[in-house]
């Protein structure tokens, strides 16, 4: 009976959408909406598409990993397009997508090899590279920190890009800025993020980059508590406004742009299965405009960041994305 009822309701929903504009379902990962990070950013991308194309959009929140398969299945039963974000959803999408060949899947941060899945990855390391260089240039103590959530590829790309940026600063300026790094083991524990950041401050770091979702909010809080001279670096979205003057910059990735582009490709018929990697070149990653901290950064450093950005775009600098690549990374001789 219950099964019948569900089938009935689903078919009504399905009928209701016939002839109507595209229906998009966005399935969050466990970070959920309000993470002030990539789930929010993805939803912003969906909203952009709603405004521009008048599509119907819905969101299903996942509260634990076990929700992924049921949520994706529920979404795929009624939607034309399913947007799935977060590396941890990879297996779930790989399982669900083949069952719904007529539904298009747009995935963020992981790729799935199926004819109806378009995947977007980011070169987080390129944005983090600039953030790392900036952090090293701005550090008064000669030590900077990194706080990670769980070491999954996107977080590691942030970490090694950041460390490469610091190394670049050291080589080009004859400095010896050190990096302290740690993992809190969770993306949703700001108290743990704060404790880890305080530990790094106590070991002499004055600028800490957090790539740890909600846990990273604790890093921003710690910088604010520690007072002037201490900075956090935000992640994924422009988080500078969360504590004006205490967030030096944010290493951003334009999840919103990726999601919007994905939906757009379905609408104009250019949807293509495969993986698209967004880089510094196409503004898919980068650092925030530093609304509150720009006046603190010397013009010379701003200029150096520009030069490095061009060098990354032109391919003169290949920013490492893994621990291995970082170890063999050679800083090319750059003239400012």
């Amino acid at each position: 009976m219950r099964k019948f009822l569900i089938a009935f309701l689903v078919s009504i929903l399905a009928l209701a959408t016939v002839g109507l504009p595209l229906t998009v379902f966005f399935v969050t990962d466990t970070g959920g909406l309000g993470d002030k990070s990539f789930n929010d950013s993805a939803w912003a991308g969906v909203q952009m598409a709603v405004q521009k194309y008048g599509i119907t959009a819905n969101v299903i929140q996942s509260y634990e990993q076990a929700d992924y398969v049921p949520n994706l299945t529920a979404a795929a039963q009624v939607a034309d397009v399913v947007v799935a974000v977060g590396f941890m959803m990879q297996d779930a999408v790989a399982k669900v997508a083949p069952q719904f060949p007529n539904v298009k899947f747009i995935t963020i941060d992981f790729s799935v090899d199926a004819p109806n899945v378009e995947s977007f990855l980011f070169s987080e390391n390129q944005g983090a590279y600039l953030a790392g260089y900036l952090a090293a240039a701005m550090s008064k103590t000669g030590k900077v920190g990194f706080v990670g959530g769980i070491p999954i590829p996107p977080v590691e790309r942030y970490q090694y890009g950041y460390e490469a940026g610091i190394q670049t600063y050291n080589v080009l300026n004859g400095a010896n800025v050190q990096v302290l790094s740690g993992y809190v083991g969770s993306f949703d524990d700001p108290a743990a993020g704060k404790a880890m950041t305080n530990s790094q401050f106590s070991e002499g770091a004055d600028i800490v980059f957090a790539a740890a979702g909600l846990s990273g909010l604790g890093t921003i809080e710690a910088a604010k508590d520690a007072g002037p001279g201490h900075f956090a670096i935000g992640v994924d979205q422009d988080q500078d406004y969360l504590a004006p003057g205490y967030v030096l910059t944010s290493a951003m990735k334009r999840v919103d742009v990726a999601v919007f582009d994905g939906i757009k490709s379905v609408i104009d018929g250019t949807f293509k299965a495969g993986t698209v990697t967004l880089t510094l070149k196409d503004n898919g990653v980068g650092i925030s405009p530093m609304t509150y901290t720009k006046q603190l950064v010397p013009a010379s450093v701003m200029h150096q960041l520009d030069v490095l950005k061009q060098a990354v775009i032109s391919g003169q600098i290949v920013v490492p994305a893994t621990e291995k690549e970082l170890q063999s990374f050679q800083v090319p001789p750059i003239q400012f």
């Binding site: 309000g34 993470d35 108290a191």
Partner: protein
Amino acid sequence: MNEWIQAILNVFTNPTFYKSTLTQSTPLILAAMGGVFSETTGVTNIALEGIMLMGAFGGVMGSYFTGNPWYGLALGTFFGLAMAALHAWASIKYGADQIISGTALILLAQGITGFALVELFGQPGSTDLVRSIPLVDLGSFKDVPFFGPIFGNLSPFVYMAFASVIFGWILIYKTKLGLRMRSVGNNPEAADTLGINVYNVRYFGVIMSGLFAALGGAYLSIGELGQFTTNMTNGRGFIALAAMIIGNWNPVGAMSASLLFGAATAFNNQLQSQSILNLSTNTQYIFGMIPYIITLIVVAGFIGKSRAPSADGIPYIKE
């Protein structure tokens, strides 16, 4: 090997390690104290996690709407008391299975806070920043070497946590009410024949547990951060339960176990921050297990068999 000795020395000579131990232990001590109060009278309370979450949310909500974090603390405490009262009502009056009632309350707390977050703050995930409870500034004491950085600027919650231990120990072991609590938890029939109102004493124990657990939760939101985020207690209620069991249902024992957990977490944070170790990411990640490994060693090696109150978790039905 030498770097390791150097790094560990660095950790133990850094005042931040000790301060971090205190701040990491505070929510655990408070919640564990809640557990002690409830279970001493014979009511299992695994709802601590949920009560903490409600305390954390109430704290931010009160602070947000009044602009005064102390009202926030009052509201958080009230939420905690209400949750505990629900648990008491179901498990004492109706003799419900206490594990089930506790689990239901955890789920209820997650649901309520998730729902109210969107309704009140217009967004899921996290609230706006609110005013948090000011730190206790000890003035010139801050300049005392070593001890200044540890004690100079602590949250009042830290003092509350230790005060609650003293309060709990005196109440449970040195007063008439405490004797009644223990007798009700060990042998409710005997207590009843002696004219003790088993139900009232149990209500008292469970409701006090709501008070302490809510304080522990409020510390996380308005003591530490000035913000509520979804499920921000992140399992601390269960760690507090473990601390209570390791501490043999005794306030001082529960405090020691909480301090041990706090110190292990602080040790992990501080050790990862040592630049001389030059750790790979994988090794760092393994460090996250330190608190649990230490717990296993302590539980297996140093603590004797812990003994729960005999009637813990068994509903009492008056004949």
